[in-house]
């Protein structure tokens, strides 16, 4: 089989990037963000991007870089707090933001990957989020129709992948990476380590290989922490 493993982020994105495409990106804050792939998107110079991502990391990190370079035309996100440039561009109208509740965003991505064009949810009923969207009553309660997100390219950060594309994540770095991966027409994954098939537990694969088209090893990583909070003594 043609290998899924690519030598670097630029090679893995070759032929996938065009102006005005929709990119879905994993990560929560700066945890589990596909930083190598985002750097390669920056280097590619593509513009007019719509990016579906829970947030945009922090200023000048991860998607924050693509905001700086103004390569992003529109964000589909639940949260812009913590990134001043994100908030600034939104408030000045330079950037379009489709505010989407966090769970609705995750479900819209999952739906996109699961062949479900729309689903009903109680989330956001009676708020700005539901404006202009069809509603339906089920068992006496009102629900709003939310549409699936299908991305041209999904960018994912994981812990390990085998060469067949099976992927595992580590702790809360999993976050949006799974729904993001499934909603991509093409899914590119950067990992900390690439292993042979059989090295991962077949009962514990978070993202089966069918979802993964291209893989790079992005190691070594120097993972940053947004809020380092510690305690000094053992909890009694």
């Amino acid at each position: 089989m043609t290998t899924k493993v690519y030598p670097n982020a630029a090679a893995a994105l070759d032929g996938l990037l065009r102006d005005n495409i929709l990119i879905a990106s994993g990560g929560f804050g700066i945890c589990g963000i596909p930083e190598r792939l985002i750097d390669a998107v920056e280097a590619s110079g593509v513009k007019g991007l719509t990016v579906a991502s829970n947030n945009a990391a922090i200023d000048n990190m991860g998607l924050g870089k693509l905001l700086r370079t103004r390569q992003i035309r529109k964000m589909i996100s639940s949260y812009i707090g913590g990134n001043k440039e994100f908030e600034r561009q939104y408030l000045t109208g330079e950037l379009e933001v489709e505010f989407t509740p966090q769970g609705t965003l995750a479900e819209r991505m999952r739906a996109g990957g699961a062949g479900i064009p729309g689903f009903y949810t109680k989330t956001g009923v009676g708020t700005l989020v539901a404006e202009g969207k069809p509603t339906m009553e089920f068992d006496g309660e009102e629900y709003v129709l939310e549409r699936a997100i299908v991305a041209d390219v999904a960018l994912v950060k994981a812990w390990k992948a085998d060469t067949s594309g099976n992927v595992v994540f580590r702790k809360t770095a999993r976050n949006f990476n799974v729904p993001v991966a499934t909603c991509g027409k093409t899914c590119v994954v950067e990992v900390e380590e690439i292993v042979e098939p059989g090295a991962l537990d077949s009962d514990a694969i978070h993202l089966p290989g069918v979802y993964v088209h291209r893989i790079i090893c992005g190691a070594p990583y120097d993972k940053q922490i947004e809020f380092r909070t510690t305690r000094t003594t053992d909890v009694g």
Partner: protein, 219 residues
Amino acid sequence: MTKHDGIVAGWSRDQMAARAAQELRDGYYVNLGIGIPTLVANHVPQGMTVTLQSENGMLGIGPFPLDEEVDADLINAGKQTISELPQSSYFDSATSFAMIRGGKIDLTVLGAMEVAENGDLANWMIPGKLVKGMGGAMDLVAGVKRIIVVMEHCAKDGSPKFIPACTLPLTGRNVVDVIITDLAVFARPDHASPFRLMEVAPGISREQLRQRTSAAYVE
């Protein structure tokens, strides 16, 4: 504890969190918002098992880590480093919100900018001024069984936050069950009932509370 027209009185942030903790029950699965709600974890009664959910994909949040335990891959929804417990489990964001939306979480404690007397909640934006986004708050108020709001009773300019009708864009319509402020506690048994005053903070009279509250409530 805030200054109201020169009067310093009412509960501290920590006391508000302790009061919110009284709403916990043994075996509850609970999601705590950022800020004062996070402090509720410090007040879980001895002997009670409460499992904390973090909407970024974790059940069983442990305390802040020791310095040598800090792990960039292990954060809560406030992006703070945390630790795990023996019973912890991790999952993706779609699964996390399936849990929340699906009514599997018993209780959530959230902050608020405004709460209306009909239970409407606003806590995600001030148009043209401040926009953080709703994060997971809209999903939480739509899906969690019991919604506790913890907030200062009045805004910085002294204006009430428990009001007849929200002026800011809503986070949820008719969703709040309990309001805990630095001055009082209001609650209602169901979403068809009005809020009732349950407690007043020491040093605050009912009359003073009424002056600082524009919402109608049952005394």
